[in-house]
């Protein structure tokens, strides 16, 4: 049996997905990128293989994606995270019907991808040089509030008052604004909600450039944050679906493309 790997090397996390010839997920994992990302990627890959009781020899084809895609030489090929994201989202969203728009928030970027009827990338847009409204922004907020990023969603849900307005979209300036708001005695919950709304608003502005259609598929680490999902649904005025494993959609896409490419190269997928 042949297996396939998609490795998404992002700025914050390394995501790896192993699939079999039937495109079923065999194993998946997320690990922090750290400063030795190449070593960390290899270690993460090896431990995932061990967990799935496989060896490197069982993996027929590896596709890398994400910011570090070109630097991971062990991969057979690399693909941009936009194409991989679209591919993975199509698969992950099977139970929600066809999707036309993908919103992805990564560690340092923000993407809106429009898909055509066949699930191919029709158009897309990304944030420019600035990291406003990305995962970094959420991390900064959590740090200032002395809580974990994973707690932000629950905190948002507890907000009773009106969400606070965060004026700065710049991560650096927003930090001082948040400290100021806290110093003025505002509640943490309203502040977190405010941060989510400011991100959601920025995303909806970006999404308008692509043109939102159909159901919106939301992935990337921050999609685990139910507060942000709620804010996004309100700002986009649409239903937003989040897959079961929002962090690994792009890696899944890379694995699927690895299988596709492998078949295309004319090799038998079975034993």
């Amino acid at each position: 049996m042949h297996y396939f790997a998609g490795i998404d090397i992002g700025s914050t996390t390394i995501k790896i997905v192993l699939t079999d010839a039937g495109d079923r997920i065999v194993a998946q994992d997320c690990q922090p990128t750290g400063c030795h990302f190449h070593k960390n990627t290899l270690t993460a890959f090896e431990s995932l293989l061990a967990r799935a009781e496989l060896t490197r020899h069982d993996v027929a084809y590896i596709f890398s994606t994400g910011y570090g895609r070109k630097l991971f030489k062990e991969a057979d090929e690399s693909i941009s995270e936009i194409s991989a994201n679209a591919m993975g989202a199509n698969k992950a969203a099977e139970k929600y019907g066809t999707i036309k728009t993908i919103i992805n928030i990564g560690g340092q970027d923000l993407k809106v991808i429009g898909l055509d009827e066949d699930g191919h990338v029709k158009n897309f847009t990304m944030n420019d040089k600035c990291a406003a409204g990305t995962g970094r922004f959420l991390e900064m907020t959590a740090r200032n509030l002395e809580m974990d990023v994973a707690q932000l969603g629950a905190c948002h849900k507890q907000a009773r008052g009106v969400p606070l307005t965060i004026n700065s979209t710049c991560t650096v300036f927003a930090e001082s604004e948040i400290i100021g708001l806290l110093a003025n005695g505002n509640g943490k919950e309203e502040l977190v909600a405010g941060v989510h709304y400011s991100i959601a608003r920025r995303i909806s502005r970006l999404a308008k450039r692509v043109g939102i259609e159909g159901t919106v598929f939301f992935d990337g680490g921050p999609a685990l944050n139910e507060g942000l999902v709620e804010a996004l649904e309100i700002e986009l005025m649409r239903k937003v679906v989040v897959p079961e494993f929002p962090q690994t959609t792009t890696a899944l896409g890379a694995a699927l493309i690895a299988r596709e490419t492998f078949c295309y190269l004319g090799e038998a997928v079975n034993d």
Binding site: I82, S83, D109, V121, N123, D128
Partner: protein
């Protein structure tokens, strides 16, 4: 005794020269690291290798007339015994100089051009007899005022902002006729109809060669990279006309042999791209190089540093100065698709035709941050292209290399989506 300001200026000159040499070398490295470049391209690689090596020297000993946009008829300058040199610069080092005294939001071409003239003034001042500025976009116009302030002899060539009416056409013809007279005063040489006729024929030969080169890009077998074409046309800005023609002729000959033997420069399946928008000028060939590194090939372009510069040719009816000046005026205004003109629907038509003639699969729209006309025309062009069923990638960028990572992700995704679209068909 050198004043502090002088010392500081000398330091800036030194730093700029160094940055320029580094930048030029880096671009050339990227250009040449593609395998199997045509032999005839070596002429152009060498030309630019030497350009910034020991300070940026003017390429000629003759009197130089600087031109700030492509609407200045080079023919008249040659006929007046001077050498035209397009001043639009693509150097980030010069842009950084310009950024010291120009608004941060202004376009990099204008910043780089002004910066270049500022830092090289002592070096070039004497040789540059005039800087001719057609009244195109607002930023160029204001940049002209700055150059005047620096002490450059700036010549304002009045151009209409619309080209459709007969009034606009005659206004421009009058501008060109006046320019013909004034040029003779600037250079001290008489422009005769005989001389002008010869120069027009020489430049028609340049157009003819460029069109030939452009026709070779129609070939199904990819023969030449867009990055090389942009280098060839960037060379036209500064090179001596006769040697440029000779080098292009050799390039065409080599490519003709390739075509006959069906030799491809790259993967035959490489997605065929068109580049439009803000001009790629050496050393800023960032976007073309990115596109071609990502596996695409630029088979056509619609930019003022390439196709728009060389495609059109002058046709006079009678060989007298009056008729030839009018013919020159028409050639530099009527087919022009500069976004400073309104309406500019000819640009849409031209793009649609290029897409057809060069079998283009995707369009890259490069807009320099700060160039509002190009940024604003994006919508209308994208509408035209989507009607024609051709996808377009809009890239807002500048001369810095900070956004390389972001740009390459976008370009790669775009090329991947074109390949996916092809599979679907």
């Amino acid at each position: 005794m050198q004043s502090d300001a002088d010392k500081r200026f000398a330091r800036m000159q030194k730093a700029t020269a160094l940055h320029l040499a580094m930048e030029g070398e880096e671009t050339l490295q990227h250009l040449t690291e593609f395998s199997d470049n045509p032999k005839a391209m070596d002429y152009f690689y060498d030309l630019f290798r030497n350009l910034y090596k020991n300070g940026h020297k003017l390429p000629t000993d003759k009197k130089v007339i600087g031109t700030m946009c492509l609407q200045v008829p080079d023919e008249l300058i040659y006929a007046a015994g001077a050498v035209p040199m397009r001043m639009c610069s693509g150097a980030y080092a010069y842009e950084q100089v310009g950024a010291e005294f120009m608004p941060a939001k202004s376009c990099p071409v204008v910043k780089a051009t002004t910066g270049m003239l500022h830092v090289n003034q002592a070096l070039w001042g004497e040789a540059v007899a005039s800087v001719v500025l057609p009244t195109t976009c607002d930023q160029k116009k204001k940049c002209g005022e700055m150059l005047k302030e620096m002490g450059y002899p700036v010549y304002i060539l009045e151009m209409p902002s619309s080209k459709d009416s007969e009034g606009a056409r005659f206004y421009w013809q009058e501008s060109i006729k006046k320019f013909t007279l004034d040029l003779q005063k600037i250079t001290g040489n008489k422009i005769t109809s005989g001389k002008l006729q010869t120069v027009i024929a020489d430049m028609a030969e340049c157009s003819r060669l460029f069109r030939k080169l452009n026709d070779l890009r129609k070939s199904k077998t990819p023969l030449i990279f867009g990055k090389d074409i942009f280098l060839v046309t960037s060379a036209y800005f500064i090179d001596e006309m006769a040697s440029w023609r000779q080098a292009v002729r050799q390039l065409i000959e080599e490519l003709e042999v390739w075509r006959q033997n069906d030799i491809a420069i790259t993967n035959r399946q490489a997605p065929r791209m068109l580049l439009t928008g803000s001009p790629p000028i050496f050393p800023n060939l960032k976007v073309p190089i990115l596109v071609e590194q990502a596996g695409g090939i630029i088979v056509a372009d619609e930019v003022c540093s390439s196709n728009r510069l060389l495609h059109d040719a002058v046709a006079y009816d009678e060989a007298n100065l009056n008729d030839m000046a009018a013919a020159l005026a028409d050639r530099y205004l009527k087919p022009c698709t500069c976004p400073c003109l309104t309406p500019n629907t000819d640009r849409n038509r031209k793009l649609a035709e290029l897409v057809k003639s060069h079998a283009v699969e995707g369009v890259i729209y490069q807009a320099f941050s700060g160039c509002l006309p190009y940024e604003m025309e994006q919508k209308q062009i994208s509408n035209t292209l989507s009607k024609a069923g051709v996808p377009m990638l809009y890239l807002e960028t500048d001369y810095s290399s900070e956004d390389l990572g972001q740009l390459s992700t976008r370009v790669e995704a775009f090329i991947e989506s074109i390949k996916a679209r092809r599979r679907k068909k």
